[in-house]
Assembly symmetry: C2
């Protein structure tokens, strides 16, 4: 993207954005040198861009001179419909689910060929899990992922299977034919289950969140210890939560919901 | 900021950032024309920048052709220490508080001369309030704000008072001298209280969240109906939550905590 001399504006914006992309969950604080290296831009360019981004509040600098994503960028990010519409509406229902189940509760959307976790609530009694809000996990090996894939366009399922179904445990479904039958069953039963398919010992159960028009815009799920998970009970707790969220989403403009899941 | 012809890079980055600034909680979806007007840039420039920001995922477009903040910017924003460090650590303690009190629970930091709400949990029984995660409110008329102001450098308190203390209700403290005595009392008692000072009928109680070094990095508070708020009980519920968060923050690097409150 960078270095298009015929359109310097494009190139500068792309470089400024590449500075932001240098940060990820394993790199939340970076030195200027690390930013330049990870963004693949010259140190002098990085210096100028970082200074501008810091002045605006997209970056902030700690006492050691390392940079992190700034408060202002976080605030602006929260305006994304996935937060300002979906998460805000779903949060009380997720808390209620957490209170009932004492397990991990997830809200997720699909972004391309991945699950994006919008929110994760947990309790001291819940089994430890690797998800986090803003994190991504595979579609075929998680409860919320199966729900989202089951309700995605067929072309998405094909593309997903063509890339190959990565094995995470001995129980991960890695044959496209079997995944296809599984997704059919998710649609007919109205919920998805993933038994130790992502992490050994963990069982996840998830249901779709519909909008007013009947489209699936998100998935809500619980991750419990596989030994003590009562799937029927979890589904029974999840369905009214999904319905509660749907009722609030109905109040939103149809076009806003287009933005939630892509 | 824009239009510095001696440094086109600076100007382009500033313009790209001004596109993002066009969005706020009352303007989460904007047409291209509205973006150009609010960002004060020519329509052609807005068109080019918006296209680049959309390609990268900082903006997304709905079916009506209006733009919103994109999923990718939201994801990157979540890497800010205020979320990835503070909120993630505090969330289970906030849920616990919510379970006990059935009231609104807030986590907040100070940004300059304002309270920034990092997270807000609520319950069906809680009194309706105007705060939201990512939102800002005054320091002198909210419980969390009083805590943060009481532990801010004296220069911040002076600057805040010099700007004038806005009246929100008949009970808002608007005299600097009285506010000074109130902040002294917040420090000596170890908690703050705001009785109908922001909104009639609402009472907020808040305590400081310390880091390992003893600095106040955040405030945690409860907003209840003023008629049924038992301040002693709320403080008793808040203190162990703040202590629980402190214990987790101790595990973090000192320099990371510099980034939480400014």
């Amino acid at each position: 993207m960078a270095g298009n001399s015929r359109d310097p504006g494009r190139s500068v914006t792309a470089r400024a954005l590449s500075v932001l992309t240098a940060f990820d969950i394993d790199h939340v604080r970076l030195t200027l040198t690390a930013i330049a290296r990870r963004a693949e831009i010259p140190l002098a360019t990085a210096h100028r861009l970082v200074r501008e981004l810091e002045m605006w509040g997209a970056l902030q600098r700690d006492g050691d001179g390392r940079y992190a994503i700034g408060l202002r960028l976080w605030e602006i990010g929260l305006l994304a419909p996935v937060n300002s519409r979906l998460r805000e509406v779903a949060l009380p229902h997720m808390q209620e689910l957490c209170r009932h189940t004492h397990d991990n509760v997830h809200l997720a959307v699909r972004s391309g060929l991945e699950v994006v976790y919008v929110e994760k609530l947990t309790t001291p009694r819940a089994v430890p899990i690797i998800s986090r809000s803003g994190g991504r996990l595979p579609l075929h090996s998680t409860g919320v992922g199966k729900v989202l894939l089951a309700h995605a366009p067929t072309t998405v399922v094909h593309e997903y299977c063509e890339r190959g179904l990565e094995r995470h445990t001995a129980y991960t479904i890695t044959e496209p034919g079997r995944l296809g039958r599984e997704l059919q069953s998710v649609r007919s039963r109205g919920f998805a289950q993933a038994n130790e398919e992502m992490t050994l010992g963990n069982c996840s159960v998830a249901v779709p969140v519909h909008d007013g028009g009947g489209s699936v815009v998100a998935a809500i799920g619980v991750v419990a210890h596989s030994a003590r998970a009562d799937v029927g009970k979890l589904v029974k707790a999840l369905l009214p939560a999904a319905e509660g969220i749907r009722q609030r989403l109905v109040e939103l403009d149809r076009t806003e919901l287009d933005l939630l899941s892509r």
